[in-house]
């Protein structure tokens, strides 16, 4: 590892220790996540890993402070700062929880390194939906300044293909299709399911069983059959009809339409003045 790399690693370690320590202790998961990341991104040798581990332990013991952070990230571009922030979020969340104090520290770091704090919440949210790229994140050393013999800086990856066109991940599309098919089945069950509860108990007066409409009690069944006599009902006339049968108009429409939804999937009458009876729905209800 180059000297620069090592500097980058210690700087990163400093920030990460700040975050990890915010909830009082660096958990073993947080430590592993951090060191594993460093190992992946800057080719740590065994000895170097041990030194960084020791450094981390030293940081843990001395409780690093937030001061001087601005200087540490001076050389970083906006994009790299954002990635740095994203990485720090993964460190804080490596143990599966994110304490308020950790979020608080992250808020302070984001402010100091010049990223809009609202991005922080998006990053945390993304982590909780696993949208964060879990692969190595390239973070340039703050000390890495352009030199004539320097390695060209890594290009940032974007989801856009050449010429701004889109590339779709076919495997992902397949997965989404399967999931959507499953969700369709689940919801279709809900939206076409028979009413398990059955009709609520109501008055079963002297009405011939054949005249009872599925899903309705005797009184509403009679009302429905009377409704069938006309294509449209002025509101006052309907109210009087319902009243003559000791039913309340609004409640009766709701009740009848609910039964219509259960049997046909559409309402029988539009609740306006005049009420219009849907013949097709009616036909299916009193088959």
């Amino acid at each position: 590892m180059t000297l620069e790399g090592k500097c980058a690693a210690t700087q990163l370690l400093h920030l990460a220790a700040l975050v990890a320590l915010a909830d009082g202790s660096v958990t073993s998961q947080e430590e592993d996540h951090l060191l594993a990341h460093l190992e992946r991104s800057i080719n740590l040798g065994r000895a170097e890993r041990e030194r960084l581990e020791a450094h981390l332990r030293w940081l843990t013991a001395t409780k690093p402070s937030l001061s001087g952070i601005k200087k540490r990230v001076e050389g970083l571009s906006g994009d790299h700062r954002e990635r740095l922030g994203e990485f720090l979020v993964t460190v804080a969340g490596a143990d599966g929880t994110l304490a308020t104090s950790e979020i608080g520290t992250l808020q302070k770091i984001y402010e100091r390194i010049g990223i809009d704090p609202s991005r922080l919440y998006q990053h945390i949210h993304a982590l909780s939906t696993e949208m964060v790229d879990s692969g190595p994140i390239t973070i340039i050393s703050p000390l890495e300044r352009p030199r004539e013999f320097g390695v060209p800086s890594p290009r940032t990856e974007t989801s856009a293909g050449p010429g701004g066109g889109i590339r779709l991940n076919i495997a992902m599309v397949e997965k989404k299709l399967q999931q959507s098919a499953a969700v369709s089945v689940l919801l279709a069950d809900v939206f076409s399911g028979e009413d398990e509860g059955g009709p609520p108990v109501g008055i079963q007066a002297a009405v011939a069983p054949a005249d009872i409409v599925t899903g309705l009690d005797a009184a509403h069944s009679v009302l429905l059959r009377r409704l069938a006599g006309q294509d449209s009902w002025p509101r006052a006339e309907f109210d009087a009809l319902a009243d003559s049968m000791s039913l309340m108009p609004e409640g009766a429409i709701d009740r009848i339409n609910e039964a219509a939804y259960e049997t046909v999937g559409e309402p029988l009458v539009e609740d306006e003045d005049p009420l219009v009876v849907d013949r097709r729905v009616l036909g299916e209800m009193i088959r």
């Binding site: 969340g93 599966g96 919440y121 989801s159 991940n169 279709a188 609520p200 309340m248």
Partner: protein, 450 residues
């Protein structure tokens, strides 16, 4: 992509009209739901639990454009289908969970105006619910040969033990008296009272003879009463959908904000401890409104500890046992599948009538990506609208091909209304989230003035 089975013309039209107008459809969401199987399963269980007399609470958290409102409406449809009564409303600076200046009562009134049942999914179902209760009481009175008032009082007896329950029962009885005596004013007053539209006790006393009204302090108690009442009216329970939690987060006044968070905590505790009967809450929030430790829900320690339990999905496993459902941002793949579903809905599920092939969908997305960058899938409102507009042109002009039209598809970038400063937001109280977006866009055009 062709898994959309039977599509009813009513649902087809509702979906297409809403989406073309840039709003989330109220019905038929299940026909265009992409993925989110576990999330759907979780809320289905919630709805069933509410129907069994239990309670539930969910915070649906997602960034702008991730489909929070769509998901909330899906939950609402599922609930209606499972015979729950639903109420919904957006939180705004003028409609809050806790207030002293009438804003909580405003929220209550808004919720009650939007009360929906399966047969009245568009809202305005409060009278239907009351009448269904009274009708069944009338039926019982007839069979038992007693006065209807007696049955009504008996059935509402349970409510009288709750805060405000006695007057609630009185008002329902007043509705019945109004009906019986042909007194429409009394009926209307009863409905107005139940909707929380009386602002003074004196008025309520004069109109209905009751001493209390729904006010800021009793907002939540009356919601619980309404839930119990829905069950007595023969429904399975009540689902309360509150969108735009971000507006509580934006309250500048710390005390007001905390009082609202305290109300959320109360609701959360009631739900988790099973104290509330047959009532569930779904709240839509953006990540910052939850996670900000200075002003978000996380700034309220008791809420933070209850919400943080299932923060992270580990190893691809989503834990939905806690109250938070995190909606991931949309990916291009999600959008691709969604556009396929829309194509299918447009063709009423008949794959031989598709107006555009898979290649066409890809080319369309390609076009959008070039026009507005990655926003085309992150905030897909305008992309969806443009796609449906394209389909409409193809439909009305048989013989034209998408290849000919694609170049002319215009697309504007969608802007997050949450990014508008609060002062402006204050002026937009009465406007829906959608009109706020439009407003933001209009502003956008004028910002280029020199």
């Amino acid at each position: 992509m062709n898994d959309v089975a039977k599509i009813r013309p009513r649902e087809r039209d509702a979906i297409i009209q809403s989406l073309r107008a840039g709003v989330v459809p109220r019905v038929g969401q299940h026909l265009i739901q992409v993925g989110r199987l576990e999330e759907a399963k979780a809320v289905l269980k919630d709805v069933e639990r509410i129907g069994d007399g239990g309670s539930a609470i969910r915070f649906v958290v997602g960034a702008y454009g991730s489909g929070k409102t769509f998901f909330l409406n899906l939950v609402r449809s599922v609930a209606l289908e499972k015979r729950l009564v639903t109420v919904h409303g957006d939180l705004t600076p003028d409609r809050r969970l806790h207030a002293t200046g009438g804003q909580a009562r405003n929220l209550f009134a808004e919720l009650m105006r939007n009360m929906a049942t399966r047969s009245k999914p568009e809202g305005g179902a409060l009278a239907s619910v009351v009448e269904r209760f009274v009708t069944s009481a009338l039926g019982e009175a007839k069979t038992r040969g007693v006065k209807p008032e007696l049955v009504i009082q008996e059935r509402l007896h349970d409510l009288t033990e709750l805060v405000g329950g006695y007057d609630f029962a009185e008002v329902v009885a007043a509705y019945w008296r109004g009906h019986e005596t042909g007194n429409d004013t009394l009926k209307n007053d009863a409905i107005r009272w139940l909707r929380g539209e009386f602002s003074t006790r004196t008025d309520a006393r004069a109109a209905l003879g009751v001493r209390t009204i729904v006010d800021d302090a009793t907002f939540y108690d009356y919601l619980k009463l309404t839930a119990r009442f829905s069950r007595l009216a023969g429904f399975a329970g009540l689902l309360v959908c509150l969108d735009e939690l971000v507006n509580l987060y934006k309250l500048a006044h710390t005390q007001a904000r905390n009082a609202n968070y305290e109300q959320i905590l109360r609701i959360l505790n009631d739900s988790l401890q099973g104290i509330a009967v047959g009532v569930g809450f779904v709240l839509g929030a953006t990540p910052d409104a939850v996670l900000d430790t200075r002003r978000g829900l996380y700034s309220y320690a008791a809420l933070q500890s209850r919400l943080a339990e299932n923060t992270f999905a580990r190893g691809g496993l989503v834990d939905l046992s806690g109250p938070v459902i995190n909606l991931s941002n949309l990916t291009p793949e999600d959008l691709y599948v969604l556009l396929g579903k829309l194509r299918s809905v447009q063709a009423s599920g008949d794959s031989s009538a598709y107006l555009i092939d898979d290649e066409g969908i890809k080319a369309f997305m390609d076009h959008c990506s070039r026009k507005v960058g990655e926003a085309y899938f992150r905030t897909p409102r305008n992309t969806i609208k443009a796609f449906l507009d394209l389909l409409a042109v193809l439909e009305q002009n048989p013989g034209t091909t998408w290849q000919e039209l694609l170049g002319n598809v215009a697309l504007a970038e969608d802007r997050n209304p949450d990014l508008t400063p609060l002062d402006e937001e204050d002026n937009e109280d009465g406007r829906s989230g959608q009109s706020a977006t439009t407003g933001a866009k209009d502003d956008d055009l004028t910002t280029f003035k020199l």
